[in-house]
């Protein structure tokens, strides 16, 4: 499973362009108002949310998968397909992942009112809590990663995987204000996102082939 943890980290790094475009606004606008430690707390809250989600999803699916034979491997096929979808989304070839994002919508609607509670509060607890809320924003990249924690086989593994993913998002979010203008432009450029999207698709297809081999559908 270590290789999957590493892949989750890479996935987040590859998706940096996406992160900067989507959440760069929050991070950038926020960074102007708080100091670095406060910003780190905010992001830590976000990663905590990811880790919790990873543990929940990982644990739940481990239970479900135990019922069927080859359950986890079959889920892997789905995870691979989600990754391909994410690659297509990142490269702006196909926006199917928007439907997946809709799944998170009800949860977010319920959490959103809480955000107002932490508005303008700058205590570390409040910042951490606000960060945790941030972590539940509907996001295609997070859901692709979650689909991987679903096949991780256990709650701790799922949590670890999502934690690694969260670390991968840090450079683009935490460093938003510090990243040079050139690097930001590179990350956001369509060419870069398409290249990363293509890499995601290949990785997805590769795991798909491996999974299919394990299921003995391919030789």
């Amino acid at each position: 499973m270590t290789i999957d943890v590493f892949a989750a980290l890479l996935m987040a790094l590859a998706g940096s362009g996406h992160c900067v475009m989507m959440c760069g606004g929050i991070a950038g606008a926020f960074a102007g108002q708080v100091n670095k430690r406060q910003l780190a707390t905010y992001n830590l809250g976000r990663i905590t949310s990811y880790t919790i989600a990873g543990a929940v999803v990982g644990g739940a699916f481990a239970g479900v998968a135990g019922i069927a034979e080859h359950g986890l491997v079959s889920l892997r096929v789905i995870a691979a397909l989600v990754l391909v979808c994410f690659g297509l989304y990142l490269g702006q070839w196909w926006f199917g992942l928007r439907y997946l994002e809709r799944l998170g919508q009800p949860l977010w609607r319920r959490l959103q009112p809480l955000a107002a509670t932490f508005r303008q509060r700058r205590s570390y607890t409040a910042l951490f809590a606000a960060g945790m809320l941030w972590g539940w924003l509907p996001c295609g990249l997070v859901y692709s990663a979650l689909s991987w924690s679903a096949v991780s086989g256990s709650a701790p593994q799922g949590a670890l995987l999502m934690f690694a993913f969260g670390l991968g998002t840090l450079p683009s979010m935490l460093g938003f204000g510090w990243l040079s203008r050139q690097l930001q432009q590179l990350l956001q450029s369509l060419g870069f996102r398409q290249l990363m999207g293509a890499a995601m698709i290949i990785y997805g297809l590769w795991t798909l082939i491996i999974a299919l081999r394990q299921l003995q559908i391919l030789q």
Partner: protein, 808 residues
Amino acid sequence: MSHALPLPPPGQCFHCLQPLPENGGYSVHLGGHDYSVCCYGCQAVAETIGQQNLLHFYQYRDTSNPLQVPLVPDELQQLEAYDDEQLQQQFTRQQDNLRSISLSIEGMTCSACAWLIEQHTRRLPGLVNVQVNATTERVQVQWHPDQLRLSDILKAIAELGYRALPFQSATQEQEFKKRRRYFVTRLGIAGLATMQVMMLAIGLYFGVVSDLDPQLRQFMWWISLFMATPVLLYSAQPFYVSAIRSIQAGRPNMDVPVTVALLSAYGASAYATVINEGEVYFESVAMFTFFLLVGRYFELLARQKAVSAAANLVKLIPAIAQQELSDGQINPVSVSQLKPGDIVHVYPGATIPVDGELLSDSTAVNESILTGESRLVEKHQHELVLAGSLNKTQPIRVRVTATQQQTVLASIIELQDLALSRKPKLARVAERMASKFVVRILLLAAATFLIWTVIDPAEAFWVTLSVLVATCPCALALAAPTAVTGAIHKLNKSGVLLRNADVLQVLPEVKTMFVDKTGTLTTGEFVLQQRHYYATARQAEIDAVTQALERSSNHPLAVPLQQLTEHSEPLTQIKSQMGMGLTGKWQQQGGGSVTVRLGSLRYIQQWHPQFEPRLPDAQVFLATHDTVLAEYAVGDALRPDTQATIAELQQAGIHVVMLTGDKLEFAQRVANQLGISEVHANCLPADKLAILNAAQANAPVAMIGDGLNDGPVLAQADVSMTFGHAADLARTAADVILLRNQFSAMTQFRTITQLARRILRQNITWALVYNIGILPIAMAGYVTPYIAAIGMSTSSLIVLLNSLRLYR
């Protein structure tokens, strides 16, 4: 916050600026207004931003350009110093209300950079024209100074990660050196490491045969890893930079597969070393980098050679001039401080620092820097002397008409830059092909990887790597630029200036060449060609009479007859008869005066109705009432070597046609002399255009003519050429300017063009054959990574060496 936030262009998501889905997407309510967003994600983020009171983010971002991020680093502020008017005068040219400048760019790596800069700067309001030259690493910008500041242009370029500063030739040499050193150090390290790693690799190959001790094997792997690391991290840097730029521009170049191949080969080998299992290919990493760098280094040298040929010109202009002050004192000043109208002194043997009007009587100058012609040129009072030419004989005084960027020399250099930046079609095609090729290679490599994962997962990675390395279209990308710069360099050396590099491709296809007569085939000056005397003994007297009469005429035919002899004869009562000639009273030495007539045959035949001229071409006759004294044939002087050149062109199968506004009789005579069979005389510019148009229907045509008067005709021709009267360069309309006033430059031009085209075609053919040929072999898994590296490098080196033939 009641006022609306700035909106992005229609059809884009308010939050992330990506395209909205077809159904219009979703909406978000912020600060009392509704905005369209593309997805729930953006909706949620936008709402969060609103709730956190962070709406100023939307207020101050630049929505016109998704690449833009609203932050201005401090160092960019320094560029504002260049907005100083006085400073700008030193390196900008003002034309009407437009200003233009040549900027040198640091950090350019490939044509993607050029594209990126062009696209990015074109958005600036008030920018009229921007042309990036990837070869010379220079940008020509034209802008409205009242709408846009120079520092804004510099900042826009800096935002992309390049450093743009006004071009100054003095710093160019340093830049070149810096650039060469950049490559040499990287090349040196790659070379040393490659040798070491190869030696170890050979040991390992043999070791495989004779069962190497596993511990020793791992030790050798670690050493190789140690050696290959600086190659990967330091030597290969140029490829990463170029790859990143090209990805940013959305036009992946060949450095993308190179980067992918290098990083993955190294990564996999390092992984194998750490877990002590599998295969290592450190020698391929080192070798691939080394060979690629060799290729780039040669390319750089070739480019610098072409560029410095032009830049050397400027270096020769002195920076200090001897200004004559109003009190007559002479004071050395910087050329940049001189204004039109100032007077400068130039000593014999010194280079003239400015364009100006000669105030002294005469001098001889060497204009070889401008024309490549090293013969001395006589200059008389009020004639123009040009910056960069060498004053040879007299100390002279010159009234300044232009300095620095406004001089003729500067415009020659600008023309060369322009030619280098306009790539011929074939080169553009090759470039586009290389770019498409890269995308396909990446796709094919991905397919190879997936297919091999199905067949044999253990091999998949290495086969893919070989595909990436072997098919790297380096040769294809090098094919055109090296040949084109080579050709331009060689042409410049022989005094042929190109404005448009497309000519290189079109000229060999030209089947018909139109030539203008006056000023092209001929020098445009009338000379005495033949004369005949009916009283041979009195030659000197007769010439003196003719001369005396002609001196009161301003007919063009009179000019060569005004300086016939030292002898003089007294003539009185000289009168002009409109359209006929001149008459006067000749006081003969033997006493007695006689009325003489000088003029056309008709005029003389009034006195001598039976007279038939001896010379078929004679137009001017001298007679008394009793007898005809002499006849003169005056004609256009042919340009030297015209005859041989025309013959040569005709031999090469080119149909030469004369187009002239002159009378048929004059035109026909020149045509007969040169063996030109098709002559169109009495042509108005519109007639010339019609004739040329008709011929153009069949095949491309070339026109060689007077750059100033034949403007429209030249513009219509597929290839237009003119002789360079250096002073008029800026106004001329031709694609090609023959700076040496020799017709034979035509032949050289043709030969070089044909050679260049042949080399260009060979290069592209070879590159395509290699790349397409190796692809299936590599995909089938028959090529190991290091064989692939050798194959790729050999193919690029072949292309480079082929292009270098042009520099001989």
